[in-house]
Amino acid sequence: MSLLEICQWIESTPSSTALRESLVVFPLLETTHVLGLAFSVGTIFWFDLRLWGVGLRRYSISEMFGYVRPWMIVGFTLMMITGAALFWSHAVQAYNSWYFRAKLILLVVAGANTALFHLTIDRHRAEWEHLPIPPLQARISGAVSLLLWFVIVAVGRLMAYTLV
């Protein structure tokens, strides 16, 4: 089965039709997906700024991470669940949307950026985490993450104009 055929099969399932045609569940899913931004991107924003050396410099990287981590986990889990359900309801349109394709690729890039950070410079965090301005690699990591999340949000919002 091709990806398109899989998406066509998804849209033909009763659960997809029910979601798509629901006058209550679909709006609630979309609303939750937007409110989830406050807890996901809204919190990672402050961690990335700290990593970039731009804001909240009085707090160490570990302190900031400890503060935002529970909300980031809750927020991004909420985004993934509601996002997956929204995709399930419009799988073929999502498949055909360049915005959606770009969003998926950018999500993978954001994940890779995070993994790279944790596997490299973050391993020696103790050596630099109290510096007001972190080393260049950490600053780049924070700035790239911030930029990626704003682009991901933008393509996500623009995608809605291609779905009817």
Binding site: L23, F26, P27, E30, T31, V34, L35, L37, A38, F39, V41, G42, T43, F45, W46, G55, L56, R58, Y59, Y67, V68, W71, F150, V153, A154, R157, L158, Y161
Partner: protein, 167 residues
Amino acid sequence: MVPDVVRHFIERIGTWAYGLSIAQWIRGSEWGVPILSVTHVFGLILLLGSVFMIALRCFGLALRRDPVSAVIRALSPATLGGLFLMTASGSLIFASGAGRYVDSYPFQLKMMAYSTAVVTQGTVYVMALRDDDENRLLSPRWMTMGGLAFLLWLSVATLGRFIAFFE
């Protein structure tokens, strides 16, 4: 639930705004409203993200080494910047398609919630400017104000999304 005076006020502003040349220009352009909507969501991240961090501090869950008032002042560029982005882009989206919004019940409720939230946020900011800056981890008045501000902005965002779905 929406008083007549509010509905009439929105209708008057809508009639006036719809005729503005900038509103006509946005209506006629293919990318006007989508770009404004993206700006609106960017503003939401700054505003809700900072109000949420402030609420976390009010409940002693983040940035504990600073008094609440200092946290509010430190995050204020994001709070005010987000509020400005949201208000500016939202006003332009409203002006460009006023006919669609003036009769929308969720939009009318959103404007009431928005006004309440702006007054609350303004009160929070003035309280932060006048605070003695002594670091108490928890205080009832900051917990009330911080929690209230966050809930109000969440309800504004919820009602905003409802405009697309409900009459």
